[in-house]
Amino acid sequence: MIKPLLSVSGLGISTVQDPRTLVNSVSFEIMPGEAVGVVGESGSGKTLTALSILGLLPRGVAVAGGSIVFNGTDLTKADPETMRNLRGSDISMVYQDPMTALNPVMKLGRQLLEVIESHEKLDNGSVARVEAALREVGIPQVERAMESYPHEFSGGMRQRVMIAMALLLSPKLLIADEPTTALDVTIQQQILALVSEQRRKRDMSMLWITHDLGVVANLVDRLIVMYAGNIVEAGTVQEIFTNPQHPYTHGLLSSLPSRTDKSRKRLTSIPGVPQKPWLVGNTCAFAPRCFKATSECTASAPKLVGSLEKSVACFHPMGDK
């Protein structure tokens, strides 16, 4: 049996003072070479989950329970220096906004060399390595780019540089936190294609974080849907798109515009606003907005049950179509 590369189990994240649960008992696994997407609204805990894997939760927020096992080590118990060594080399991340994510006063070549220097000794081959990495992500005139400052590059080009930086040390796991939200649609497609291509080439695992189901559909093998700090549904992309079980996933999918539907009807929306994770308590977080909710839903919290292909946390799943 193949061992998962990353195994998150029962992960809870909460504020340190006046404890407020932000992420509640999240469990999932990423196999070697597998791409997993995490979908959810702002505040659903998807970014915090990713940051906790990197050991970079913001000040005042901490892991409250559970474990994050990466390649055999529990990252929640690792010391800061081990985490620092892991970041950028074994686990890397592509940042959201490429416009502000590069040091404005440092030449690009130097910034990439810094990544190598942070984890290994620089040698004669380092510059060639950086140039190869830039070529790999489709930067033209690499020698000139090495000597350029970030402001000389467009957003799309900067995101390519960011990807080159993240991939430079051949990480086993790449986290992408909405890497295309700051880009326009055509560039978005190019960047998504680039990351996908690199993933296949390197047989790298990926964690895509997004609020846009349409973006991840073609990029990942499995999807995790988060709502108010909980995983409400997880499964293969095929399963989730064709046969959503959780009413929330169902609602998300029916809010997507369809290319084939020409009826010009209004898009369906889910009534209400997302619940604050710390106010959920021992109930189904989605119950207040759910059209199938019963007294059972507010009496206790549903558990995520099912297989790797398909699991759902709901007392009244949608049922098969």
Partner: protein, 285 residues
């Protein structure tokens, strides 16, 4: 050579756009040349040589700035005094900037108790008037040139702490610093290579301004008798000594005072020029 219109303009280009910057730089260059002459002893007369025969003479072709009551050449003494003032203030500001910027950046970046401690300590030093605190330190330490610089350094360190700490608070929240953490850079590397270069502009301006204040403080201390000691020349001391004879010999008071004024104005103008050159928002034209 024609400049490439697409090539970004450097800081020097913008500095030269500022009139006050150019004037200030010229005044400063003049003062530095004057001090270098004094360092190598290229002076028309020995600044310490007394000659009662020529006492209290007005400016002439032999004594360009006239002589004082002991017949010493005021021109030579002014140049030598300028050298002393600059030595003391440059070393004071170097110490203050090094310690202040290091503490300021660390305190801004680390935050928590360290930040509290550093900020409170600098508040304590700020609470004293600069010249009073310098006076107190000099009277305890002694008044050789390095002790004077040390006293002035203590007084000006908190300013550098503040000037460095403020922008660090902003820069450490910038995405590019977050990315360095995501990619596993060490804290030292982040501070040295990614934060420091992005907070230098206000520090550079502060160095120019602090130099002018340090010169004033040094002159003040010497004027009060706690800086440079007679018979050595210092601008502040010369002003102090000239008080009693100013009614008969205006030149003894005028020239050292003029030197102080020129160097202070020059440094302030350089500070203005640097601020204009380093602040992108001011690069209007």
């Amino acid at each position: 050579m024609k400049r490439d219109p697409l090539k970004p303009k450097g800081g020097f280009y913008y500095y030269m756009q500022s009139t006050s910057g150019i004037v200030g730089a010229l005044l400063l260059i003049f003062m530095v040349i004057v001090s270098i002459c004094a360092v190598f002893g290229w002076l028309p007369h020995d600044p310490l040589e007394q000659n009662v025969e020529f006492a209290m003479q007005g400016p002439s072709t032999t004594f360009w700035f006239g002589t004082d009551e002991f017949g010493r050449d005021i021109f030579s003494r002014s140049l030598d005094g300028m050298r002393r003032s600059l030595t003391v203030s440059v070393s004071a500001v170097s110490i203050a900037a090094t310690i202040g910027v290091t503490l300021g950046i660390l305190s801004g970046y680390l935050g928590r108790w360290f930040d509290q401690l550093v900020v409170r300590l600098s508040d304590v030093i700020f609470a004293f008037p600069a010249i009073l605190l310098a006076l107190a330190i000099v009277s305890t330490l002694g008044n050789s040139w390095y002790q004077t610089s040390l006293a002035i350094a203590v007084v000006y360190t908190p300013i550098f702490i503040r000037v460095a700490r403020g922008p660090v608070l902003t820069v450490k929240e910038m995405d590019y610093v977050k990315v360095t953490r995501i990619l596993g850079f060490s804290s030292l590397r982040i501070l040295r290579k990614h934060i420091l270069p992005n907070v230098t502009a206000p520090i550079v301006v502060q160095v120019a301004l602090s130099l002018s204040w340090a010169i004033l403080t040094e002159s003040g201390l010497s004027f009060l008798g706690l800086g440079t000691q007679p018979p050595n020349a210092s601008l502040g001391l010369m002003v102090s000594e000239a008080q009693s004879i100013a009614a008969f010999a205006w030149w003894a008071l005028f020239f050292p005072s003029a030197f102080i004024t020129i160097v202070v104005v020059g440094l302030n103008l350089v500070g203005d020029g640097l601020r204009d050159a380093l602040d992108p928002a001011r690069r209007s034209s």
